[in-house]
Amino acid sequence: MTPAPRDPARLLPLSPAMFHVLAALAESPRHGYAIIKDVLERTQGRVALSTGTLYGLVKRLRAEGLIVESAHRPTASDGDDERRRYYRLTDFGRAVAVAEAQRLEQMVVVARASSLLKGRQRA
């Protein structure tokens, strides 16, 4: 809705749930339930978004211009329903996700430097 160039840093930090949704859309457009499943798999079941929570996030991410509805729909091979909408990252959304990932990375660097993650360095 508001595609004007903005500074991604202004939206940081993202909530973990928001970041997971952006990460789920980083590779390809997905519909709502696919996002839920992707997040669940990526986090090995630690983050289970509910339908209500997800669509609250979708609404906000859309209003911020981080995601948009994707015109591209995959073929109806997996029982695609016309009620489903597919979402994809906008360029701005990708920039915000990258900025958040970098922010998290820096935090990890700090944690390592201060020996907080000593035992798990090689993991």
Binding site: G32, A48, T51, G52, R85
Partner: protein, 871 residues
């Protein structure tokens, strides 16, 4: 038939937690995602299904309200921007709401403090006891009657006797007379008064012959006794005798008379011992009880009556005694409950008027915004959505106005409390607390809803075609006009009802205000002194003490005159002998004759007039013939035809001491206190022949009380350093206090009525103004066709006249229906007083028509050329 599965119905219900906009946008795909997830969860077994449902319900329940909040915040933000864009309308509306909410919040905090903050649990079960025969019930219960009930009646959880003892505290700063209450050991349990430190006294300590103990009040403990907990177990000097402190009461405990400011509590039986040792009868007490659960008043009363019948000592004359129980709260706050609620109702009227005014204002704004709303509707915004947005905007108004209302409330409350209406109990509990804030918030939100609803609904009814096509006055226009007329009529009606109420209370106040109280209060200070009654005390010692005190004061050049009376007018204090016989005829059990003891110069000094016979002189000494001077009321009551001069009055002036006095003069009546306007029968006794341990000294001086207080105190200290001077204040202050309740009531009601009238006239002014604006084109055409200015004026004014007439008619009806709630505060004025009704209606009519005339005149200034050219 295709039944929708339960899970889908449940999900639809959960979807209803979201705003309709959200549902419209995401509903179908959420349902799809829910179905997908459920299918996968079903494959994961029972645990998977349970986890799925838990996640779904929790997620929907958390996200839905959050979405609502975000919509509301957005609408509120829009509302705030609109408020900034129209500062004139905004300021008027906010001020109006602030006045309405402020009046209500202030009045509610009074009602809350006095009526609702009851310091007892289950107050309905607390009762007072009266005995006697029908028509002459009395709260004076003999000690043996009380003891019979205490020992035999099972209808109570606890029952306590009660009497007053006001000892002087010495040894902790200046000598001070304390307000003490003597109660049974049960009193603390039945009145929720377990001491916060130490203990209450026990039943074994509440027996005759036991030493006096004290539970001290929290205030006294913190202010005079240093707040030191180690005082418990130690002694304090009361009337110069050591009394052991056993406990310290909690800050909210106030004994049975919870609304007063009692300093200490002592066990009843030792108290009665002490009173008797001081030469008092101390034969009767008041009785309070807490009914056992499930026991009704008549059942308890019947049990008490039969207990008395079985016990001959409790009813010595063998007559059956009737017992009457009444809720304690009725005794404490019964007199003020209805009028206070009526004043709260009056504040409610002001709020309604304020709401009507703001509704009218917003109707105008909704009209001005019809284009914007039509565009929204055309873009697919539902009517519910528009109503919601307009309502949210109103709520923003309501809350902002309400916040300002707190400031108004604070001011009104400050003024009310400064008036200290003497007979409204519990005012010290009045203040802002969570209840008051909740009511303020509720009033603000309620007002927002009330005034927002009408404009919201009419606003949402906008037809896009009509509004965008700019057809100014269609069906919606006349509906709006009707709505506004109704609002104006309601405002006039409510204002008139308030005006009538204010008029009635003001008339009562003016009527009671003692322009001529029967004495001259200016330039006089009063000082009250109570002497302790020592066991050996004869009246001689107190007479000697006071004589010295008077002499010392007379020697001070600052006092032009010194006189004294045992009972001062308007204070409610009386000195009633147990028996009085007039010209040989006894007057029955309670003769209702006040026999004040006064110094010989009292009548002259206070400015009373001897109407017949003579006043007292120095010749009326203890050795001369006993004499009395009676007042007009007494003369009329007992000697309606003959002259009372030379007649005899015999009274038991002290226990066991009857004196027969000759009437030597008649003085004018002095006004009674409060609403007891009519004077008592009074028979004055000369100081030298009477004596009293309680005297109020009247000092004639132009100096203020603060300046002469040290002089008075030093004179007292020179005589007895352990005696407190209880109060030094102008006589005028006593006078003013005696009508403080009516001043308070009249002021509050007039304030509300004034607010109402101003608001209603502003409302009328605005509505007539709008109707002129809306009809400018029509007026222009009429004038172009030859209508004269007076015809135009009457065209506009006719409507205002009809509204005013309808408003007045409704208002008079409303006043007739509601003024009776103020009746208990009205003295010698009927709740339907015609003069007041007529004057209020006249005033309202004048104000309303003036408010309508100004904009109507503007209509006559319309230039037909300009309007028609604008077309």
């Amino acid at each position: 038939m295709n039944r929708i599965p339960f899970r889908q119905r449940l999900f639809r219900v959960l979807l209803r937690l979201f705003p309709s906009e959200f549902r419209g946008d995401f509903g179908p795909e959420m349902t799809q995602a829910f179905e997908d997830e459920r299918r996968d969860a079903a494959a994961a077994g029972r645990t998977g299904r349970a986890g799925f449902w838990w996640r779904t319900v929790r997620g929907m329940a958390m996200t839905g309200p959050r979405e609502h909040a975000s919509v509301m915040l957005r609408d509120a933000g829009y509302g705030l921007r609109l408020m900034r864009a129209h500062p004139g309308v905004t300021l008027t509306a906010l001020l109006t709401i602030a006045l309405g909410v402020g009046a209500n919040t202030a009045m509610f905090s009074v009602v809350n403090g006095v009526l609702f903050k009851v310091p007892f649990h289950d107050p309905d079960r607390l009762v007072t006891v009266r005995v006697g025969a029908p028509g002459s019930m009395s709260a004076a219960i003999t000690v043996s009657q009380f003891e019979t009930w205490r020992d035999r009646v099972r209808a109570f959880d606890g029952i306590t006797g009660f009497t007053l003892l006001s000892p002087v505290l010495t040894g902790h700063g200046e000598a001070t007379r304390l307000a003490g209450e003597c109660v049974s050991a049960e009193a603390f349990a039945i009145l929720d008064g377990t001491p916060v430190i130490g203990r209450p006294f026990t039943a074994s300590e509440d027996r005759a012959g036991q030493p006096l103990l004290a539970v001290i009040g929290h205030d006294l403990w913190t202010t005079r006794l240093g707040g030191d907990a180690s005082i418990v177990g130690r002694t304090i000097a009361l009337d110069q005798e050591p009394v052991t402190v056993v406990g310290i009461a909690g800050p909210t405990f106030g004994g049975p008379h919870a609304y007063g400011r009692t300093n200490l509590w002592m066990p009843l039986a030792p108290c009665l011992d002490r009173l008797r040792a001081q030469g008092r009868r101390a034969q009767s007490v008041n009785v309070y009880g807490r009914l056992a659960g499930g026991v009704t008043l008549p059942v308890a009363a019947a049990e008490m009556e039969s207990a008395l019948e079985r016990d001959a000592t409790a009813a010595p004359d063998g007559q059956a005694v009737q017992v009457e129980l009444a809720p304690l709260l009725d005794e404490l706050i019964g007199d003020v409950r209805e009028p206070l609620l009526a004043l709260l109702g009056a504040a409610g009227f002001v709020l309604l008027i304020a709401s009507a005014n703001v509704a009218s204002l917003l109707l105008g704004r909704a009209h001005a915004r019809r284009k914007e709303l039509a565009v929204r509707a055309a873009l697919g915004c539902s009517r519910a959505r528009i109503v919601r947005q307009l309502l949210t905007e109103s709520l923003v108004f309501g809350i902002t106005g309400g916040a300002l209302g707190l400031l108004v409330a604070n001011w009104i409350l400050g003024t009310i409390l400064a008036m200290r209406p003497a007979s409204v109990p519990g005012l010290h509990r009045v203040g802002m607390d969570w209840r008051v804030l909740a009511v303020c918030l509720f009033a603000s939100l309620g007002t927002g809803l009330l005034f927002g609803l009408l404009p919201a609904i009419t606003g949402a009814h906008v037809s896009p075609a009509a509004a965008l096509g700019e057809f100014g006055r269609g069906a919606a226009g006349s509906a709006r006009q009707r709505a506004r007329s109704a609002l104006v009529i309601a405002e006039i009606a409510l204002s008139l009802a308030l005006l009538v109420g204010a008029g009635l209370l003001t008339r009562t106040f003016l009527h009671l205000r003692p322009d001529n109280p029967g004495f001259k209060p200016d330039g006089k200070l009063i000082v009250t002194v109570t002497l302790p009654r020592a066991p050996s005390s004869k009246s001689d010692s107190s007479t000697a003490f006071f004589d010295q005190f008077f002499e010392r004061l007379r020697s001070q050049p600052v006092f032009a005159g010194v006189s004294a009376s045992s009972t001062l007018p308007l204070t409610g204090n009386v000195r009633m002998p147990a028996t009085v016989a007039v010209a040989g005829h006894p007057l029955g059990r309670r003769p209702n004759v006040d026999m004040p003891v006064v110094t010989a110069n009292y009548f002259d000094e206070i400015g009373m007039a001897i109407l017949r016979g003579r006043g007292f002189s120095r010749d009326d000494s203890s050795g001369s013939q006993p004499v009395t001077v009676i007042n007009e009321t007494m003369a009329r009551r007992f000697w309606p035809a003959a002259s009372p001069l030379g007649a005899y009055i015999t009274a038991e002036e002290r226990p066991g001491l009857s004196v027969t006095r000759t009437v030597v003069g008649i003085v004018n009546d002095v006004r009674g206190t409060g609403n007891r306007l009519g004077a008592f029968s009074q028979a004055y006794v000369p100081w030298a022949q009477g004596g009293s341990t309680y005297m109020t000294v009247v000092l004639r001086t132009d100096e203020p009380a603060e300046r002469v207080a040290p002089i008075i105190q030093s004179q007292m200290a020179a005589l007895n350093p352990n005696l407190p001077v209880e109060s030094i204040e102008p006589l005028n202050a006593v006078l003013s206090r005696s009508v403080s309740l009516w001043r308070f009531a009249a002021w509050v009601m007039s304030l509300f009525a004034g607010l109402a009238v101003v608001l209603a006239s502003v409302g009328l002014f605005a509505v007539v103004g709008w109707s002129v604006t809306e009809r400018t084109r029509e007026i222009g055409v009429r004038m172009a066709l030859g209508a004269s200015r007076s015809q135009i004026l009457s065209l506009i004014a006719r409507r205002a006249l009809v509204w005013t007439a309808l408003g007045l008619a409704l208002g008079l009806g409303l006043a007739v229906a509601t003024t009776r709630f103020l009746a208990s505060w009205m003295v010698d004025v009927s709740p339907l007083d015609r003069t007041t009704f007529a004057a209020a209606a006249g005033l309202m009519a004048v104000v309303a028509l003036t408010a309508a005339y100004v904009p109507a005149r503007r209509a006559t200034k319309v230039d037909p050329l300009v309007t028609l050219r604008a077309e």
